[in-house]
Amino acid sequence: MSIPIGAEAPDFQLPGADGATWSAFDPGPATPPATVVVFTCNHCPYALAWQDRLADAARDYADRGVRFLAINANDADRYPRDSFDAMKARVAGEDWPMPYLHDSTQEVAHAYGAKVTPDVFVLDSERRLRYRGAPDSDYDDPGQNAQWLREALDAVLGGSEPSRAETKPVGCSIKWKQ
């Protein structure tokens, strides 16, 4: 079950493909006005199709202090393409504007109630969930430009409630350990 809209999101500490350890709420001296947590992976066509739009949003909102964290929680034993080494190789070969974190125990994915990749969670400065769902309405239309995510971020940054707080996340099921 996913955390409900308005509830405080769980903190976590996870290793990143960049070699650092990242926390959900350890941003340094300034509290970010919003944090985006995206559950994603290497092997899912939906996650891959939306990746550029999510990366563009991360770049576009960086100046406004929004923090993006991507998390891969898939069972790498059954899906080797989602191994930590494969994540590192991917980050090394691509331009990632956000850390790519490995949730090897799947505890974070369970705590957030993530279901698929990609599954987007937007948190406000008080760590409360303000949006959860898909980046936009169509993985197959780059022109959508992560519109639902951007609308949610604009609302949170503007101090209002997103008009669309929840949408159905669309993608590959998270590969849980058996």
Binding site: H43, P45, L48, A49, R78, Y79, R81, Y139, P142, G171
Partner: protein, 111 residues
Amino acid sequence: MNVELLWWEGCPSTERALTAVREALTDLGLDGVEVRMQEIKDDGDAEETRFVGSPTILIDGVDLVPVAANEQIGLSCRVYRRRDGRVSPIPDPDDLREALRIAAERAEVKR
């Protein structure tokens, strides 16, 4: 011509893929061709059918998109490339039409 669509419930692209196959058949005047649906339920099914991801479309037993020898067999969503380079969970409609057209012509020659 035999057209099969192998699918796994963990991927939400089955309906979209089936629609794409049917539209391609219609475009080619092959409305009468049945699309046989085969659900891949577990790892055993995947091994048996050499399933590399959902959806997999077989035309006369041949995969629409050639599969690399080292491709992992198992329950996952398949990654396709559109002709413009985009990643997609279903094949490019033009690839689908072309493969069906070639299969139809081959079947015609055999008669």
